[in-house]
Amino acid sequence: MVEFSPQVIDTIIRAAALLGAGFAMIAGIGPGIGQGYAAGKAVESVARDPEARGNIITTMLLGQAVAESTGIYSLVIAIVLIFTI
């Protein structure tokens, strides 16, 4: 059976943590794409009904504020993984 020295195990753990942080950051891309798509549709809606501009801005603001939280979750996890180990 192959036995690893503590240094090697430490390096593997560090590498795995950094890899995990990288994977966690993938979750940050989704909200960006979604928010962009929502903005495009909002422009289309304002062009169709200019009087609803205020309503559209508020709805979009609330939607974007909530959609962003998943991105921040991933960021928090990535930073914990990077700095704790």
């Binding site: 940050g28 909200p31 960006g32 794409i33 928010q35 962009g36 798509y37 929502a38 903005a39 495009g40 909002a42 422009v43 289309e44 304002v46 501009r53 205020g54 309503n55 559209i56 801005i57 508020t58 709805t59 979009m60 603001l61 609330l62 974007q64 504020a65 909530v66 962003e68 939280s69 991105g71 921040i72 960021l75 928090v76 930073i79 914990v80 700095f83």
Partner: protein
């Protein structure tokens, strides 16, 4: 929601409600003497408020653009905001006088308020609907009893 047609007023209401809810953990950490958490929480809260303001400005700008341009603009701005969040969290992690988790919670307070507000609004709407149904049922019964 009451001010759905007025983004400026809505923004002020969100900020007011967030600070009202945030006063509970702020008071708790003040009384318990946990100043690292207090500073971290206030730091996150202030950044989250400023980012909300930035987002309103960005959305207003984006609505004057064409569809494709607005999409790209908002996407780029999101990544800039993401960068700001990253810097804030790294600063909170590196600085010993700021609590990292408290900063993260401070950043999430605005989202928490919006979600809670929406849930309470939905619950209030549902409750009002049920009350009206109950009143109608009661009126029908009274009418039938009278006849």
């Amino acid at each position: 929601m009451k001010y759905i047609n007025d983004p400026g007023r809505m923004q002020i209401e969100i900020i007011k409600k967030t600070y009202l809810i945030a006063s509970i953990p702020i008071l708790y950490s003040l009384i318990s003497g946990n100043f690292e958490s207090l500073l971290g929480f206030i730091f996150g809260l202030v950044i989250s408020t400023l980012i909300l303001r930035l987002r309103v400005i960005n959305i207003q700008k984006a609505l004057d653009m064409s569809e494709g341009k607005a999409e790209t603009f908002i996407r780029n701005r999101y990544f800039i905001e993401y960068g700001i969040y990253f810097v804030v969290l790294v600063v909170a992690r590196k600085n010993p006088s700021l609590n990292f988790l408290a900063t993260a919670v401070g950043l999430f307070m605005m989202k928490f308020t919006v979600i809670m507000w929406a849930i309470l609004d939905m619950a209030r709407g549902g409750l009002n609907k049920k009350l009206e149904e109950y009143k109608d049922l009661k009126d029908d019964k009274i009418e039938k009893g009278g006849k």
